[in-house]
Assembly symmetry: C2
Homo-oligomer: 375 residues x 2
């Protein structure tokens, strides 16, 4: 164990990592990168890996080395963190509306190829002003709501209004195309449902693209698609770029999806390592809770045959035998237990470091961006 | 707005704080401290404020100034962080079993009055070894499971076994008494249910105390009780110390409890400030999500009359009118919206700083302990 606030040091045995700690299985991570980027390359679709999933520059650099054209993220703070690590092609796949944030965004755009989404004419004007003030140029994607009902405009008329506002702000703003991510399709369990959702999303995106081009606006890019649906965007003939993030890490929620034909199965690459801190006849208690693993998409699952999670509180996870009548051997006090998280993104965000392991050895300890990257 | 990674600077207007940000209403916080510590002082029960609720040394120091005898926390990393801020009476109200953590704990015990809980003889031996190695002395509380079914021993026989192991490890270990916290009683909604649970917990604690004293072991302290039940521990005649934490901050889950007679109502002191980043006919989107507010105890609630949360995803909270037929005025793009969190502890943990406001002005920006305090 390291003497700093890092939970481990290179060369440590996995079973000696201080807990709770976020563990990355490098073999699984690398296999996921090879599978996804190979799949996309064979189909001629560009991959922009979503850095919100991990907020870890070291992982983003490896995704780019594996074939990603760049990364996307949701926040100016994330973009600043990734840029500081040397990543020079970043899409903020989200709206940014506040003046101080827009000023930071414009400053960053002087150093890297940067794009951001808009869904309101006021935001276009504020972005243009920030870029003018900073002598910066930014690419803009109009976010289209293709079914999620969150951000983005729904009507082609609104798309054209935004395109005109962007054109009016040339040369500091330049229309790159459409952001068309369908978030709520990602966890539809049946592949057929996901396929149908993305077919509908693709039709909407194509209509908007055609309207833009009929209006004299080039729409070079249609980007979207996550770990649950990227095969359908890639095959759509409409999307030019996909934005998967969780594929590199995986979680129980994505693993509960029904498998898609021809899409390689991704391996569980992250886990939360905890120690057994209290043992009882009926249960055992692990030394991490809500501050170490996110439960918004359900409880984590212990990699301990015959055991399941009974409850998660701030600093404890209680596990119990699945079958109380069968005598599952209780884990020893102080022994380690790995848990698969329900949802990878907010779980990564609970840790300062990711401990990258090759088999049972720590190979590296990589920082995760500070919590202030949320701004 | 500050140019550092802090979301604000003293003197800023609340409406200019960068978002998402964790806001502390100082008037409400101070009123909660006055109410709780006045209540306890009038009843002659000592308060050990639970620092796990906020992990913020600046708040802990104010709790001590308001009358807390010291603080408790769950992790060695938290204890180190609070000690570094000058807090010199700390109870780790939890088990610590791993050798590197025990070594850190023993080192810390040379500098501050430190206590820790045990529920297994092996842990007593490992703790004693660490203290011997560090030439340190630590107070020990035997954790009694008074109904939660998590950590702690259940039988008086086990209590006596642990007391003998602690006595055998004198002088490096010294028995202080019993940790008897009933976590699952905190959110029983009816005051009568909470009263009955704590009556049962008090009987168990008194039995264990009597057995210890009959066995020649002084049991000076019986500590436990949280924000939902402290009135019952305080009135029990058994507990000598209460451990509330959330009282200072509050959340929706505690506010859903039925009120106790004679217990002052605590005010909502923390909120998560977000900005409206996207507006639509049917909904609006705020610029914070699962990485800014915890949803383990339910969705947050916007302080925006006629609006409610529809959904929370990684970086977005979607709000909608409660009554779609009534025309609730939509919030303006870029305007601020404060949300009350469902659960204060893991929400605090999602932020690097707490922005302390007096009315609509920022008075201070205080750091929250690093995520590595979980170890």
């Amino acid at each position: 164990m390291s003497s700093s606030n890092e939970p481990a040091a290179p060369g440590d045995l996995l079973e000696r990592v201080d807990t709770p700690a976020l563990i990355l299985d490098l073999d699984a991570f690398e296999a996921n990168l090879a599978a996804l980027h190979g799949y996309a390359a064979a189909r001629g679709v560009r991959v922009r890996a979503h850095g919100k999933a991990h907020r870890c520059p070291a992982l983003a650099l490896r995704q780019i080395a594996a074939g990603a054209a760049g990364i996307c993220c949701q926040k100016v703070g994330e973009a600043e963190g990734f840029a500081a690590a040397g990543i020079d092609d970043i899409l903020i796949s989200n709206e940014v509306v506040d003046s101080p944030k827009l000023a930071r965004l414009a400053r960053l755009a002087r150093d890297v190829r940067l794009a951001v989404c808009v869904d309101h004419p006021e935001a276009v004007r504020a972005l243009a002003q920030a870029c003018t003030d900073a002598h910066a140029q930014v690419d803009v994607l109009i976010e289209l709501d293709v079914g999620q009902g969150r951000c983005g405009v729904r009507d082609v008329g609104e798309v054209l209004t935004l395109a005109r506002a962007i054109a009016d702000a040339a040369p500091v703003l330049r229309l790159r195309g459409l952001q068309a991510y369908h978030g709520s399709a990602q966890h539809l369990r049946a592949p057929g449902e996901r396929a149908a959702s993305i077919a509908a999303a693709s039709r909407r995106a194509a209509q908007a693209r055609d309207a833009l081009e009929a209006g004299g606006c080039a729409c070079g890019e249609i980007t979207g698609g996550g770990t649950g649906t990227f095969a359908y965007e890639a095959a759509s003939g409409v999307y030019t770029e996909i934005q998967p993030g969780s594929y590199a890490l995986m979680d129980l929620d994505y693993r509960a999806n029904g498998a898609d034909l021809a899409v390689p199965a991704m391996r569980q690459a992250i886990g939360v390592l905890m120690s057994v801190m209290s043992v009882h006849r009926t249960h055992a208690v692990l030394d991490g809770g809500l501050k170490a693993v996110s439960v918004d998409s359900g409880a984590p699952a212990p990699r301990l045959s015959g055991w399941r999670v009974r409850g998660v509180s701030d600093e404890h996870t209680v596990i119990e035998p699945v079958d109380r009548s069968a005598a599952a051997p209780a884990p020893a006090l102080g022994s380690r237990c790995m848990l698969d998280p329900g949802h990878c993104d907010p779980t990564m965000n609970l840790h300062d470091h990711v401990v990258a392991c090759r088999g049972d050895r720590v190979e590296a300890v990589w920082p995760v961006l500070a919590r202030s990257a949320s701004r």
